[in-house]
């Protein structure tokens, strides 16, 4: 169609040219479909890098450039892990650390979400709590572990407490920021339709702040895992962190690495779960 309009109406060759139009190859207007591997692209590249790094690591370890006491290779770590599973102690450790994480991190979310919403929404709540939140956030909460052990004993509750304190503030602060950054137009529209505070929370504040809340939760996971490991390093009856401390004291370097891998993979898993939730809430957002 656009080809025709270019031709001046009284151009003598117009007829001849327009007769050619059907033969003109029409350029495709629809953007090319992503190739079949697009869905797997990020997995492909991501795992490629991981395999490469593991291979180099194994090569260094096998070449004995660094003594295995300092840097065991991936295979040695895998063997240590298998032995750890075989002797059965992994299950008590996993149960202890897992429970600590679930209680501490879960409690942090339960407390941080409503508190963050209130702080973001009500100026006076923010004014009242802001100094305490800032102070507590600035405090290196890991340093509280000895104190928490005196208060809560060496069982899981001292670790639950440190995990809670470590992960609550990123979630709280991000939730509050999310509410603060809501589009004023959304709130105005909701108010104009007679929305109550509760309705505004549910239909505007919460969905509007979701990206911030999830960012806070993602940062919180990292802090929570530090809490698990460091808390158990100081004193514990069971747990992955305790295992790492014991293995380290006995120069079982590969086993320490195995513990490190377990903790890191747990973190990757949790962040992955959060990303799934995020994708569910962000369906409306155009890719990039």
């Amino acid at each position: 169609m656009s080809v025709e309009t270019v031709i001046p109406p009284n151009d003598p060759t117009a007829k001849a040219k327009s007769a050619e139009v059907p033969q003109v190859r029409v350029r495709r207007r629809i953007p090319a479909q992503p190739p079949w591997f697009a869905r797997w692209e990020s997995l492909l590249f991501g795992s490629g890098t991981v395999i490469f790094v593991l291979a180099v690591w194994q090569a260094i370890a096998s070449a004995r450039i660094v003594p295995p006491l300092f840097l065991p290779g991936p295979f040695a770590i895998w063997e240590a892990f298998v032995a750890y599973v075989a002797d059965g102690s992994i299950w008590t450790d996993l149960a202890a650390s897992g429970l600590e994480l679930i209680y501490g991190y879960g409690l942090a979310i339960i407390v941080a979400l409503p508190l963050g919403l209130l702080m973001g929404w009500y100026r006076r709540v923010n004014m009242s709590l802001d100094p305490i939140v800032n102070f507590m956030n600035a405090m290196p909460r890991i340093a509280l572990v000895p104190l928490l052990i005196i208060w809560f004993g060496i069982g899981i509750w001292s670790k639950v407490a440190v995990i809670f304190l470590s992960s609550i503030f990123p979630i709280l602060i991000n939730t509050q920021a999310g509410i603060r950054n809501l589009d004023a137009g959304w709130i105005k529209a909701a108010r104009s339709f007679g929305g109550s505070d509760l309705q505004l929370f549910r239909t505007v504040a919460l969905p509007g702040a979701v990206p911030f809340i999830l960012t806070g939760m993602r940062i919180g996971v990292g802090h929570a895992l530090i809490g698990v490991v460091v808390g158990e390093l100081v004193a514990a009856r069971a747990g992955i962190g305790l295992m790492m401390a014991t293995a380290g004291a006995g120069f079982q370097t590969a086993k320490v690495f195995a513990g490190l891998m377990i903790v890191s993979l747990a973190g990757v898993f949790l962040v992955g779960m959060i990303s799934l939730v995020e994708r569910r809430f962000q369906a409306w957002r155009p890719p990039n």
Binding site: D183, G185, W186, K188, A189, A190, R191, S192, F193, G194, G195, Q199, T203, V204, P207, G208, F281, Q282, A283, W284, R285, P286
Partner: protein, 274 residues
């Protein structure tokens, strides 16, 4: 239009101030406005940019507190938003995580007086009315600006308000869609005869739609004059080319031009005095 009708909305000496963050002085946006809007009337407000039109409309909707005077709806002072009013905002302000259907349903959901299925049906009706049939499941980010504005209009119409407040609802539309929407709005309005207050910068649009046009002065906004548009209804789009239409257009254009010029010379003076 000459028959004495019930006053729907009355503003008496209404002034509205803003407190600016970095100022110890209140900022006067609307200054002693007197305005009566009759039941079933189509009132259009025109005036230079920044003169306080949106501010006044927000006050009528109950979103903005007035600092002086009286603002009454059906004889009762306006204190907060109510089910008898609905606003079409200058910025579409759609919820990006809700589909077109979800956004059009939004007002009805907040009112909470209808069953879910009934809300959906009503929303679908309005989506068709504003010409967005087939886009029910699209998200606002997937719509053009003009389409978003039509969702904004449908959202307000869906709650079936007594007074419809429209803040430059068609400003973002292309000329054709705009004329189409103007005619549609008139059609909807003629069928229901709801009171409408409509802000626009487009003088043709103002005359085409209005029973009366209120011209605002430059900020702080006062009402400069109210011009009765004595053109027969129903109006056709082609009536925009009739001589009487053009007379009105000239008159309103001159009136606004005076105001814009007044602001400019004031601005020049204040520059010169420094």
């Amino acid at each position: 239009m000459s028959d004495p009708r019930a006053v729907k909305l009355s503003a008496r000496q209404v002034s509205i101030h803003y407190w600016l963050t970095r100022s110890s002085q209140p900022f006067l946006a609307v200054d002693s406005v007197d305005l009566d809007v009759y039941a079933g009337e189509f009132m259009v407000i025109v005036g230079p940019s920044g003169c306080g039109k949106t501010t006044l409309l927000n006050a009528i909707d109950g979103l903005q507190r007035i600092s002086d005077g009286e603002l009454e709806l059906n004889g009762k002072p306006i204190r907060k938003p109510g089910g008898d009013r609905a606003m079409v905002f200058q910025q579409a302000s759609l919820l990006p995580w809700r589909s077109v259907l979800g956004n059009v349903s939004y007002g009805l959901e907040l009112r909470g007086k209808m069953q879910r299925a009934a809300i959906r049906d009503r929303a679908r009706e309005l989506i068709t009315l504003v010409g967005l049939k087939g886009f029910e499941d699209h998200y606002p980010t997937e719509l053009s600006g003009g389409m978003q504005q039509r969702v904004n209009l449908a959202r307000a119409l869906a709650v079936d308000p007594d007074i419809l407040l429209l803040d430059e609802p068609f400003a973002a539309l292309d000329a054709q869609t705009r004329e189409y929407m103007q005619a549609e709005l008139l059609r909807i309005w003629s069928a229901t005869r709801k009171t409408a207050i409509f802000i626009t910068h487009d003088i043709k649009e103002a005359i085409y739609l209005a029973d009366r046009v209120a011209v605002f002065t430059a900020r702080p906004g006062r009402i400069k004059e109210i011009i009765e548009i004595d053109l027969p209804r129903p109006r056709e789009l082609r009536s925009k080319r009739e001589p009487r239409f053009l007379e009105y257009e000239d008159r309103i254009w001159n009136s606004i031009e005076e105001e814009v010029r007044a602001t400019e010379s004031r601005a020049l003076e204040s520059v010169g005095s420094r």
